[in-house]
Amino acid sequence: MGILDSKVPSGPLADKWTKHKNDIDLVNPANKRNIDIIMVGTGLAGASAAATLAELGYNVKTFCYQDSPRRAHSIAAQGGINAAKNYQGDGDSPYRLFYDTIKGGDYRSREANVYRLAEESVNIIDQCVAQGVPFAREYGGLLDNRSFGGVLVSRTFYAKGQTGQQLLLGAYAAMNRQINRGKITSYTRHEMLDVVLVDGKARGIIARDLITGEIERHAAHAVVIASGGYGNVFYLSTNAMGSNVTAAWRVHKRGAFFANPCFTQIHPTCIPVSGDHQSKLTLMSESLRNDGRIWVPAKAEDAQAIREGKLKPTKIPEADRDYFLERRYPAFGNLVPRDVASRAAKERCDAGFGVNKTGEAVYLDFAAAIQRYGSEKALTSGIKDPDQETITKLGEEVVEAKYGNLFQMYEKIVDENPYKTPMMIYPAVHYTMGGLWVDYNLQTTIPGCFCTGEANFSDHGANRLGASALMQGLADGYFVLPYTIGDYLSDDIRTGPISTESEAFDKAEAEVRANLEKLLNAKGAHPVDYYHKKLGKIMWNKCGMSRNATELKEAIEEISALRADFYENVRIPGGLNEMNTELEKAGRVADFLELGELFAKDALERNESCGGHFREEYQTPEGEALRDDKNFRYVAAWEYKGAPKDAKLHKEDLVFENVELKTRSYK
């Protein structure tokens, strides 16, 4: 399998990265001035890499579809970022972070990449503090930490509920410094629509100016894709409205393999769907599971009465409540990893115990925490024999101090007071572990085309642990790519500027134009959203939290039929050479309609359950995931061959030299 060489350096795990950095070729500073790099995406992964590459001396062009780099979807991350700093002295180390991440990912990620991530994690925090990122601090002036699910140490750094915004503002500020120096040119409200290959190497992109509609050519010596995840293939997700797969997908169509498309993270604590008008789902941070207890009524008739509005949850006695996570997983309880918690909630709702109108919600209850904190607080404040009311009041104050902003967000959306009645939550699509296949240097199978952040597949296996995506984006961007790209570019010091006047650019531009015109010419009956919603329903019902061969096969057929219908019957008002937000959406949905099919095919091919991929046929008698390490210990990397159904599978075998493969148990 020569084509899928992961290029993992030899030697002991802990030495690989240092050794690799010493071995790879460098580009001298004078030559860097003659080299151009295109960065598609300005989230944590893109902005951090753009800034660093520009500091090193390369000429960088950045692209984002938003009106400012600062608005990339990384801005929305709430909870925090992991780093093996061991500031709490609780025994943390890069090895432990590495181990937790490999295990959390259900042994479907590459050891060497994950170790490097854990190693670089410590530098991220130093770097961000130096840039002025206002992390939460203790009274002594040192940095504060919190814990996240699936781990036993406190290694998460945070900035209230806004960690993503603060980290992104840091990376954006670093970018601004380089823009001011003339080393970065920032193209906002621009969408990349194709990558251009010259002699088999990525040498530029075709982009559309979203204000004027103009189609532009941009050339460079290398192209980096940092375009984020594709959770919006489900229509409803916690991603931003514009999050898309287009950049990654167009690169895939030009030859980059797409890895593990079916590995999706469904987050257990999101606000449930309220109706057909719903446009996106809102995450309630994982940190809530530290204090909230998850339950449904134990009796089906109670659940029904609640759904019909005849019974209030607070009226159900303790004995008639089913705290199903505590029941099934006594060791980890409400803090089991995301995939496990989500599936358990779905199981209860499918069995008829759901608690909202549609039967797709469970309770997240803070009453016990309020009482516990209230009593503690009364004690430490020296209040003797406090009455119930005082305890509740004190408890609510403690809970407000910890989660006030989340409670307020919940109340705004749902119009119910979560201090008085339990929150309703349901799992929602949140993150995609799959993405463009990259080697250890973060290069795709197209020479000169690299991929970082959520858009690549590399570090989280079949399930990502909380607070690890921000870590990966910044590690890739600040500390990994700037080195590894040099190895590739060292061959380009004499190439000279790349021209956009070539046959390759002519052809790519003509194809982009033809695609857009085809969409505009359909002149059918249905808006783009009509198709996106339909696709989302198929994905959610047949490729969602649990999957089986029959439904996956149906999904493949249905998506392919929907795609044909879309090209015939979509209606897009307006034209090509002007701002046209419907045309933008149509291009993205067209790509989702292809990706969705490959997604189902990938899920069908993987005859095992692992992490977020649960195949009903492969489970233990207790309903837990059943991995098959003998036959599926590999990365599935798909090569584009025309229609998604013809995609060709390449396997990268995963070799585990440093950890023993075990069954994940949280019981």
């Binding site: 009106d67 400012s68 801005i75 840039q131 206002p134 601090r137 008008h277 119009d415």
Partner: protein, 248 residues
């Protein structure tokens, strides 16, 4: 709910715009304001008309992309939220709602309700950063303790989402609250002190160049700011600026 929407329609930056009436029905209280506009747009497209263009992305109050003057108020009638967090239960059956873009010379309209806020980016490019390379060879993050009070104040300033409501709320279209938040975030940290003089001068100069108006202390910005950015930041920036002028 039945509503009458009066929406600003403008083809592009060089055309003239006007308010157009759109009656709309079957709006539910659980819908967000932007979802209500989604419903309208689906109807318009099905009829063969062009949808109303408005800016939005995260739809959870953090990216700062959404805007809109709703009945004359940036981000609508509620306090401390963005337009995307506003829900229709805030309105009553039969209401008329006037929806216009954020208005300021420095925020030209691009189309319908979408404006160009790139002036904010340029203010930050002029100095909104700490000049440290991203080499990873900086000092340990805990080497310089920062007193919690200042760290928290810096965070409060840094929580500005760059939405521009402060400018839209101000009768002078001044960008003082935004710029002050950005200056303060760094001014409050030891790491940011080194370049404080140049930073405040450069950012204020750029702010003036962009054509934002003067601050006359009306305080409208603070009232409408969805993140509760405080006027104290303006006072702090004025002090910084004064000091810079004296020293510089």
């Amino acid at each position: 709910m039945k509503l009458l929407l009066k929406i600003w329609r403008q083809k592009d930056g060089s055309s003239k715009g006007k308010l157009v009436d759109y009656p709309i029905d079957h709006i539910e209280g659980d819908m967000s304001f932007l979802e209500m506009l989604d419903v309208l747009n689906q109807e318009l497209i099905e009829k063969g008309d062009e949808p109303v263009v408005f800016d939005h992305d995260c739809r959870e109050g953090i990216c700062g992309t959404c805007s809109l003057m709703i009945n004359g108020e940036p981000h609508g009638p509620d306090r401390l939220i963005t337009t995307c967090q506003l829900h229709m239960r805030r309105f009553n059956d039969g209401d008329t709602i006037v929806i216009e873009p954020f208005r300021a010379t420095a925020f030209p309209v691009l189309k319908d309700l979408m404006v160009d806020r790139s002036a904010f980016d340029r203010i930050q490019q002029a100095g909104g950063y700490i000049s440290v390379n991203t080499s990873g060879n900086t000092v340990d993050a805990n080497a310089i303790p920062i007193d919690k009070h200042h760290a928290d104040e810096s965070f409060e300033a840094a929580s500005c989402i760059g939405c521009g409501a402060c400018v839209a709320a101000c009768k002078n279209a001044s960008a003082m609250l935004f710029t002050a938040a950005k200056v303060s975030q760094f001014a409050l940290l030891p790491q940011g002190k080194v370049e404080a003089i140049d930073r405040v001068q450069n950012m204020v100069r750029q702010m003036d160049l962009e054509g934002f108006g003067n601050c006359t202390n009306t305080g409208a910005c603070e009232v409408e700011c969805p993140k509760g950015i405080s006027l104290e930041n303006i006072a702090r920036m004025n002090r910084e600026y004064l000091m810079a002028t004296v020293k510089g």
